[in-house]
Amino acid sequence: MSELSQKEVLKLISHMTSSARGLIYEPKSYGPFRLIDSIIKLYQTLEEADVIKENGETDFDEIISELEAVKRDCLEEDCQEDCAEKLDAIINKLVVELNKEI
């Protein structure tokens, strides 16, 4: 049976809240990095808890690995344009996927 423990939910909420708190004074470029990091953690938690229904066609692994690549790059100097482009491409894919679901 799939199950998401309170502990895992608390860990996610703690991580995201601490990220938000830290970002108040951290460099602006940390923002996208922390959000992408949170997305990856959220997805891993949901996947490990086996709570994602497998009836869809969306290739989450592919989307997550693309996000991982952006996460690696997005703290590099002068990476804004490149990261914006890569995130736009991922978002375009997400629109297509969501259109299939809704």
Partner: protein, 178 residues
């Protein structure tokens, strides 16, 4: 190239660790290296907590967005604010003690590199949560975490500025000043 310069260049911030535990003797030796760093006025206000308990590591990780890769150990570098103030005044407490921590941190990370241990300095942690989790008394300020562990990865060195662009002999801005 000299051995030390080689080691300095070899040290990397590593954010991916194997599960293997580190012997406590090795961890203690890293802190031994830390206390041989210079300290302003030799005040030595630094204090160290070595965390190798899995449950505590998991909790600290949840409140430390800058911490990555599930290290099997953390060295928490703190300083005693009261001692630093008593011996060094406001300057000692607010400036020297933090500089001392940085020097101690580099010693830890260099010895780790020599021992083929991976490490990463981490400043992005939630101070309040860490104080609570480690039961730190009021006078103890947590300044930096260093994750330590064995790793498979050897990341490429992040770019460094060219020496001639950031370093001058004598007057500012004079290139090739001999």
């Amino acid at each position: 190239m000299g051995e030390l310069l080689n080691l300095i260049k070899k040290r990397r911030s590593i954010r991916n660790f194997r599960n293997d535990k580190i012997a406590r003797d090795d961890l203690a030796e890293l802190v031994e290296a830390a206390i041989w760093a210079p300290s302003g006025g030799n005040i030595q206000s630094w204090r160290f907590i070595i965390v190798d308990d899995d449950v505590l590591l998991e909790k600290i990780d949840a409140f430390s967005p800058g911490l990555s890769g599930n290290p099997p150990a953390l060295i928490i570098l703190c300083y005693d604010k009261n001692l630093a103030y008593k011996k060094g005044g406001k300057f000692g407490r607010d400036i020297l003690s933090r500089m001392d921590i940085s020097m101690a941190a580099q010693n830890i990370m260099l010895l780790a590199a020599e021992k083929a241990l991976a490490s990463c300095p981490v400043k992005s942690f939630n101070r309040g949560a860490l104080i609570e989790l480690l039961k730190l008394p009021d006078k103890i300020e947590p300044e930096l975490l260093i994750s330590v562990g064995y790793s498979f990865v050897e990341p490429p060195p992040p770019k460094r500025d060219k020496l001639e662009e950031i370093c001058y002999f004598n007057n500012w801005g004079e290139e090739n000043n001999e």
